[in-house]
């Protein structure tokens, strides 16, 4: 069951938008990270049920962070959220084991639909 979610993005606006959607559907945002390195550290600390991960971030990007999280927890569930959608990126995301790849922009429906596919 998915209840606790971590948001990883370097844009405060994305955090605000996602949090609003998630909390209105009774999900708990248990952690916020601004880059991939923080994401890896916070994942270890909070063990969220689901991670929303951006790709382009400073310090460590989302693909590297996802790879690291999946290496330590193969059952980690990650939804990648990005403005990019190149075939190369999609293939790399798939090889890492990203559960769902969502292209920005997103709305309530897209987010909730994506989560429901993982349940």
């Amino acid at each position: 069951m998915i209840k606790r979610v971590m948001i990883v993005d370097d844009s405060p606006m994305i955090h605000t938008m996602l949090r609003k959607t998630l909390e209105s559907h009774d999900y708990e945002v248990c952690a916020d990270a601004q880059n991939g390195k923080e994401a890896v550290e916070l994942y270890e600390k909070h063990k969220p049920d689901l991670v929303f991960m951006d790709i382009t971030m400073p310090v460590m990007d989302g693909l590297a962070a996802s790879r690291s999280i999946k290496a330590s927890d193969s059952n980690a569930r990650i939804i990648m959220l990005s403005a990019m959608g190149d075939e190369e990126i999609l293939q790399e995301a798939e090889s890492i084991g990203i559960d769902i790849f969502l292209k920005k922009p997103f709305n309530d429906y897209k987010i909730v639909s994506a989560i429901s596919k993982l349940v």
């Binding site: 844009s11 405060p12 606006m13 605000t16 938008m17 990005s82 403005a83 920005k104």
Partner: protein, 159 residues
């Protein structure tokens, strides 16, 4: 010898779709491109979201709007009332909008000579500012009306 001419992509149509997708989805607004003959009070440009787009034909994308327009747009996108938005919210919002629009444009230009990579977006602020390019460029400048907001989009290719 037959000289093949590479068709110029329909930049206007590509930008239309990107704006409709991004602003329409995130803010719930109907997005309409204004024709050049439309006289409308744009208001003073105060915030510009920008992104450099390196590729075979280096480019830059900017989306400019007034402070008021930014408040309305970001309010609808985030669900935060305009009077509760901080300045940083507007600057981040402008950068995120240009990021997403660039992503959409990128997808449509991927198989063309105008393909590019995304770079970190940034925001230019200042009342009445303008973005002036020094090098020879080809610019596609389009104005959009979305909700109660007016947005100026410029996609410039450096020749």
């Amino acid at each position: 010898m037959v000289k093949l001419e590479i068709a110029r992509p329909d930049f206007e149509g590509i930008i239309d779709r990107a704006m409709d997708d991004v602003v329409g989805t995130a803010a719930g607004f109907e997005v309409k491109r204004l024709n050049t003959a439309t006289e409308i009070n744009f208001g003073e440009v105060e915030i510009t979201g920008a992104m450099l787009l390196p590729g075979l034909n280096n480019a830059m994308l900017t989306i400019s709007l007034s402070h008021k327009a930014a408040e309305v747009l970001i309010a609808y996108m985030t669900g935060i009332f305009p009077d509760q938005l901080e300045e940083e919210d507007l600057y981040d919002g402008a950068a995120e909008i240009v990021n997403q629009v660039a992503g959409r444009i990128k997808s449509e230009l991927a198989e063309t000579d105008y393909h590019f990579v995304l770079t970190p977006p940034f925001t230019i602020i200042g009342r009445g500012h303008r973005v002036i390019h020094k090098s020879r460029i080809e610019s596609i400048c389009l104005d959009y009306f979305a909700g109660e907001t007016l947005l100026k989009v410029e996609l410039s290719f450096i020749k």
